[in-house]
């Protein structure tokens, strides 16, 4: 599946400050190719998470379109868009994100359970792949940061999506766990999914198939290509 954004931009209106409009993402074209790990690197406030959320269907752009193959994401109504996201997109949020009243296994199955399904076998397979299967019946509060991040990856993969988005997936991890997470994401990309990671980590370049930088809402490529290439 090809993810393609055309002239997407995100403006926020502010009451105070210079002018009334703050542009988080300047108008740009963006292509997310399948089979590659694409990394967008930038400092906090550069607009990278805003870009990721627009591409993943979680934030309506002020202008522009996002296409998944021929499907225009933001022309869909909320029910349809939500279902589309559930079926086609895996999302790894930053920080400690989980439903605290569910066990590890149930958290992995959350995308399924939201639509009345359950696949414990698949969930356990993913936990084994990420070396946390022994924690499947544990409460979330008992997990370390690294374990929680691996849970998030397992959850993002439960429906075998064609597109994966990861927002600062290694933000609060040590070097060892950072390496584990990036290796896993690269492996997912190798299996054919389109993977986009936004991060401030300098070391991310070592894992990326495609490296982009973002500053002040403007995206640029390190190798002289554009984000849409």
């Amino acid at each position: 599946m090809e993810v393609r954004a055309e002239q997407i931009t995100k403006d926020y209106f502010r009451k105070h400050g210079d002018g009334n409009v703050f542009t988080a993402v300047d108008a740009c074209d963006f292509l997310l190719p399948a089979g590659l790990l694409t990394v967008v690197r930038g400092k906090s406030g550069s607009g990278k998470s805003t870009l990721l959320n627009m591409l993943s269907g979680n934030l309506t752009p002020t202008a522009g379109h996002v296409f998944y193959d021929d499907a225009d994401l933001y022309s869909m109504k909320d029910d349809e868009l939500s279902r589309f996201r559930n079926n086609n997109i895996g999302y790894i949020p930053q920080g400690r994100s989980a439903v605290w009243s569910l066990t590890v296994l149930e958290n992995v199955m959350l995308p399924l359970m939201l639509y009345g399904a359950r696949d414990e076998k698949r969930a356990v397979e993913l936990l084994e792949r990420l070396n946390i299967s022994d924690l499947k019946d544990e409460k979330i509060s008992r997990l370390s940061g690294g374990e929680l991040r691996r849970l998030s990856i397992a959850r993002a993969l439960i429906k075998d999506p064609e597109v994966i988005f990861a927002d600062e997936p290694t933000g609060d991890l040590d070097d060892v766990n950072t390496g584990i997470v990036f290796e896993e994401l690269r492996g997912i990309a190798r299996s054919g999914a389109a993977v986009l990671v936004v991060t401030h980590e300098e070391d991310a370049a070592a894992y990326a198939d495609r490296m982009l930088n973002m500053e002040g809402g403007v995206i640029s490529a390190e190798d002289g290509t554009t984000a849409s290439q």
Partner: protein, 419 residues
């Protein structure tokens, strides 16, 4: 659907403090509403019971009776006490202009018995002229046509044994005897002819006998408590004369005329006696209503606050569900379902607990306010139960509705970035 129900259930059990708080608040809402509705109904029924109990527009009592502490309340509750006046007063009163019906009653004694948990008030009355006792009879009759014993009727001995004779014997609702039973009053067997409905007054622990039966009891009994009234009975004395004025006639001139022309008695208007009670009952109704409203509103506000706090604390969880693909509608239904379950559980518990405690609560309220109370009928009670339940569930849902709406329209991205 099953998995979504599972998510809702896990959310409820996963946040026990919040869940218990919501259940308790909804229980308070429903319990207080039910209690308030039933208590106000009880108080208002008590007033109509008092009015009906009197039946009479004017009551004439001996002067000495007025010195009795809490005379008004006790009389309204059916307790005349051992005071007597000449019986010919009834005849004099019946000649006064405006007087319609006249009926006299005679206080015999308060006796300890096995027929009731408290003292039995033994009263003599005239069934022929009576218009106060008869309206309360729900089983049997006043016995003016002379009732016989039913097959299988039981004997209850209070103080002796002997063959029963017929006459009018009407038992209050708390007397353990039914029409046809032979009971022994102060050693004298009599046959119960009628049973009264519950009045919430001392009528309930009274036995009314016609004057002939009263005379037989007094003459044949060895009971010392009857010795005080034996002479009075022989002299034809009475304790109270009840008067119903002619239709359309104002009781006031009748009352005044009695007070002027009949010596050593005092005529009081039942309306006058009741007026003070009406005011206090209205006041009691208002206080109960206000307290109920305050409690309900406070509980409702707390439900609203807790619902808002609960979703605020779980913003990140709900944001996660959004990015996992939960639509706004789905998220809304998850949050609302949690609120619905908790408010239904709490409201049901509150109405059930209060429903079970209501007889005691009504009784205590009646005792505290010194008014007769009678529980509402089954139909009214069931209606009150479901009304309290429905209103409280709706209140709990309304509290959750705002929270569900807010969280379903939340922008997930900033929420996910919260620490």
């Amino acid at each position: 659907m099953k998995e979504r129900a599972y998510l809702v259930r896990r959310s409820i059990t996963g946040h026990p403090v919040r869940s218990i708080a919501m259940v308790l608040l909804c229980a308070v809402m429903s319990g207080s509403l039910l209690a308030g509705m039933i208590l106000v109904s009880c108080v208002q029924d008590g007033l109509s019971v008092m009015r009906r109990r009197l039946g009479a527009d004017v009551m004439v009592v001996p002067y000495a009776a007025l010195s009795k502490k809490n005379f008004d309340n006790e009389f309204l509750l059916g307790n005349t006490g051992a005071f007597y006046m000449p019986g010919e007063n009834a005849g004099k009163i019946s000649e006064i202009e405006g007087v319609g019906s006249v009926s006299a009653q005679f206080f015999l004694a308060d006796i300890d018995s096995e027929l009731s948990g408290s003292a039995v008030h033994l009263m003599g009355y005239d069934p022929e002229s009576d218009f106060c006792v008869a309206p309360w009879i729900i089983d049997g009759s006043s016995g003016t046509d002379a009732a016989g014993a039913d097959a299988g009727a039981s004997d209850t001995d209070i103080g002796g044994a002997g063959s029963a004779a017929s006459g009018s014997v009407v038992a209050g609702s708390e007397i353990k005897a039914r029409p046809g039973d032979t009971v022994t009053l102060c050693g004298v067997p009599v046959i119960v002819t009628g049973k009264m409905a519950e009045t919430g007054t001392d009528y309930d622990t009274s036995i009314y006998v016609d004057m002939a039966t009263a005379g037989r009891i007094v003459s044949q009994s060895d009971d010392d408590s009857l010795s005080a009234c034996a002479q009075m009975l022989e002299d034809g004395a009475v304790s109270v004369i009840l008067i119903a004025v002619v239709d359309g006639y104002d009781p006031e001139p009748v009352l005044n005329s009695i007070n002027i022309h009949i010596k050593k008695v005092r005529a009081v208007s039942s309306k006058e006696m009741v007026t003070g009670e009406v005011s206090s009952m209205r006041g009691a109704s208002l206080i109960i209503t206000v307290i109920t409203a305050v409690i309900w509103c406070a509980a409702m506000a707390s439900v609203f606050v807790i619902s808002q706090l609960a979703v605020s604390q779980r913003r990140k969880e709900f944001a996660l569900m959004r990015v996992m693909g939960a639509s706004r509608r789905r998220l809304f239904s998850i949050v609302l379902s949690e609120g619905a379950i908790l408010s239904a559980a709490g409201s049901a518990a509150g109405t059930a607990v209060m429903g079970a405690a209501l007889p005691l609560v009504c009784h205590m309220t009646g005792a505290a306010l010194d008014i007769p109370v009678s529980l509402p009928g089954t139909g009214a009670a069931v209606l009150g139960f479901f009304l309290a339940l429905a209103v409280s569930v709706a209140g709990g849902l309304a509290g959750s509705l705002a929270a569900a709406s807010r969280i379903s329209h939340m922008d997930p991205a900033p929420a996910l970035r919260e620490i």
